[in-house]
Amino acid sequence: MHLGVIDYGASNIHSVARALKSLGSKVSIVDTPDKFKSIDKLVFPGQGSMGSCIKKLKETEMINPLLEVIKSKPFLGICLGLQILFNSSEESQEKGLGVINGKITKIKDINNENLKIPHMGWNNVKIEKKHDLFLGIEDKQFFYFVHSFIASKTETSVSTTQYGEEFVSSLATENIFATQFHPEKSGDIGLKFLENFINWKI
């Protein structure tokens, strides 16, 4: 099993690579278009804004090979890696990849709880649908989050989390899985989740 971790030059990808390596996987950094071919699965970690991310992907000519992988190989998007799958975001003018219908919006303090933004820390993940990536992980476990923007519920939602409003903490379609939380920073449960991705067969 050969895992690729995409590096478009504006995100800290090392913690994801380290976590995958600790599970015994062969991990390569994918930072040029030609490196997509040899990998079996791709992980897209990311922090920051959708706009700068899409821009960097265009500059490095990785948009097309990325879209090819998203169509054919097991793909795990983490944080910004979930958000870029959508059509657009309130955060930027730049369009997303448009793989999933919907828009990314800023977290709103709908119940006037003095919500601190970014949503940073450990929060519950409510599993709404069974999925192989949550195998052996109980409902309502704590995962680590750091983000200011969210995806509202779609038919692709696998889990939800409450912070102000309820948002999509993970989603899936066929070969794509994406999380708003950071499994690579979620301790043993996060490692279990990543191990499930390594073992995932589509």
Binding site: S15, G121, W122, E184, S186, G190
Partner: protein, 252 residues
Amino acid sequence: MSLAVRIIPCLDVRGGRVVKGINFKDIIDAGDPSEAAKRYDAEGADEICMLDIDASFEERSTTIETVKSIASQVFIPFTVGGGIKSLKDIDMLLKSGADKVSINTSAILNPDLIAEASKEYGAQCIVLAIDAKQDREIWNVYTHGGKNKTDLDAIEWAKKGQDLGAGEILMTSMDKDGTKSGFDNNLYMELSNNLSIPVIASGGAGELSHLVDAVKIGKADALLAASIFHYEEISIKKVKQALQSEGFEVRL
């Protein structure tokens, strides 16, 4: 449903070893940092913090090797502080595996560092650390590991730090640090009432009730402690159970 109260064991490191002092003095050796970090992770720590305690004083940069070693073995958020002076220092620490950096003395000497770092890496990875000592009605800020007094008011400086772009405030009470007599809850209450970013309380943990009170009375978002966890006087799990029984959300 709200965020869990975070319990953060702190490794005070000097020359690649964990050390512990009382009131910022009388340093003793307390073991290997990555072994300690691994143990804390297994015991349920929500984050790990490593402070290179006199890096700033001796003009020494933080031990990159120790950071790398911890980051390759521990998969929870990891904050590193001590001797950070520039964006280059921050960049190197983040690349070595830190998720957040904690900046103390350099932020006072050069407040723009907080603003620039926040803009470059995001507020979520910039922690403003403050060492404070009470003097009648106010708390004074100290620099260089508690060695030099400034005329800054700790509450005002924390507010300024928030405006500059810090994502969290790590406030250590020098009066309480190492004394095991409880947190300076007045300080944390005052801080929490004045800030919209999370407050990490540090200094004075000795008994379970101290930790609970820092959240209940001091309204701290996270608790940082070194020796009680290091010498296994109180387990992280016990702290969380005590908080949970008081109705606070914790990750158990």
